[in-house]
């Protein structure tokens, strides 16, 4: 696996961390957050909420980077992200060559 050169300011770079909160009772199971999460943090639960919809749950604990996309795309105001503690990047989180992190 080939890497870009290590950024010069790697010591100062902190990867933001988000804490995801899901108001399961509001969810109508549209899947937007699961599909469009750029880090694939979420998955659909096999459980139902009171309205009979599947709701999302956190699949990869700690992978959220607080981009707030799930909060913005959710039509039901049922998921949101709060800023957690920032942490320095792990070696395997350095951008790999050709990897697109824009989406």
């Amino acid at each position: 696996m080939s890497y870009w050169r290590v950024p010069l300011d790697i010591q100062n770079v902190k990867i933001p961390k988000g804490d995801i909160h899901i108001i399961t009772e509001r969810c109508k199971g549209c899947n937007f957050c699961v599909e469009y999460c750029p880090r694939d943090v979420l998955e659909m639960s096999t459980d139902f909420n009171r309205k009979g919809y599947h709701y999302p749950q956190v699949l990869k604990q700690g992978a959220c980077v607080n981009c707030n996309l799930c909060e913005m795309i959710c039509p039901e105001f049922s998921i949101y992200c709060l800023e957690g503690e920032e942490k320095p990047p792990e070696p395997d989180q350095v951008l790999r060559k050709g990897e697109n992190h824009e989406s």
């Binding site: 909160h21 899901i22 108001i23 399961t24 009772e25 509001r26 109508k28 199971g29 549209c30 899947n31 937007f32 599909e35 469009y36 459980d47 139902f48 909420n49 009171r50 309205k51 919809y53 996309l69 909060e71 913005m72 795309i73 959710c74 039509p75 039901e76 105001f77 049922s78 949101y80 709060l82």
Partner: protein, 304 residues
């Protein structure tokens, strides 16, 4: 004879509501009215989120913002926003908003409504508000049909699309809303889809800060009627279609941004120009004609 068992609760896992979670936008929404009426995977909820984020970003005082909406699915947006909001009669969101904007020039008035409300029954109000360049911000949520009343063909239904009143496909030519808005005199015209949330938020923020008639058309999925009747899948499939077929062309000629059935959608900011608003033009003109005799209308301090 034994009683039939009616208690199935132990066969399902229904979680108890968790601890009190408070959404960051809770102060802007009337969550006591939730769950809202919009279908699962409808895009209107996303657009309302984008509107609130755009409002926060624009830095306007929420006390000085009013939202008016007409009838239709998107007409319910006014009811779910914790702002000064009014749910007007069908097509008359723009006249109501015009009165509000002229009666209280301090207010920034937004109209959130659908394509049927703004372009069909309210079409005349739309072209004349744009012509007079009244200080309004129009957010037109276009789902290509009258979704609340059963999916009838509307003024934006693309040719060949199936609607409940056109079972063999639509044969009427649809409106090109950005072109209609620009040719009527709007100073800010943009089109986005419900998927372009960050760009949409920026556009709403820009439009709210723009004096004059700003118009944003937002293409939104309608999974229950338009997508179902045309076999286009769920709202998520529609969103994926937007992802594949939407092309951003800022400053595109609005004459060429027609939407054809399941073809590419040109999105972007098409028009952003400066023109005196209705109030400015009136005050300048009458000042020139009448001099000191002319006293511009100001809202009385004790007015309500």
């Amino acid at each position: 004879m034994s009683e039939p068992t009616t208690d199935y609760t132990d066969t399902l896992t229904i979680p108890e509501p968790k601890e009190n979670l408070k959404h960051p936008l809770e102060s802007y929404i009337r969550s006591e009215r939730f769950p809202h009426i919009w279908c699962s995977s409808c895009g209107i909820g996303t657009i309302v989120t984008a509107y609130i984020s755009g409002l926060q970003k624009s830095g306007l005082d929420p006390e000085k913002v009013a939202v008016v909406s007409g009838i239709g699915c998107s007409g319910r947006a006014a009811g779910y926003l914790r702002l000064d909001s009014f749910h007007s009669t069908h097509g008359r969101a723009l006249p109501f908003a015009t009165g509000l904007a002229l009666g209280n020039p301090e207010l920034k008035v937004s109209v959130i409504s659908g394509d049927g409300d703004i372009a069909a029954i309210g079409g005349n109000h739309f072209i004349h508000s744009a012509r007079r360049n009244i200080d309004l911000n129009i957010i037109c949520i276009n789902n290509f049909n009258y979704a609340m009343t059963g999916g009838q063909a509307g003024p934006t239904t693309p040719l060949e699309a199936n609607a409940s009143t056109t079972p063999y496909g639509c044969y009427e030519y649809p409106f090109n809303l950005p072109f209609l808005a620009e040719s009527s005199g709007a100073v800010y015209v943009a089109r986005w889809t419900a998927l372009h949330i960050r760009r949409l938020t920026n556009a709403i923020s820009e439009a709210l800060q723009k004096p004059g008639f700003s118009f944003i058309e937002i293409i939104s999925p309608c999974p229950t009627l338009y997508a179902r009747r045309n076999r286009l899948g769920t709202g998520l499939d529609t969103m994926k279609f937007y992802h594949d077929s939407a092309t951003i062309q800022h400053g595109a000629d609005t004459r060429e941004v027609d939407i054809e059935y399941q073809k590419k959608i040109i999105v972007g900011k098409f028009v952003d120009k400066d023109k005196p608003t209705f109030t400015e033009a009136r005050d300048t003109f009458l000042n020139k004609k009448l001099g000191d005799q002319y006293v511009p209308y100001r809202r009385p301090n004790n007015g309500h």
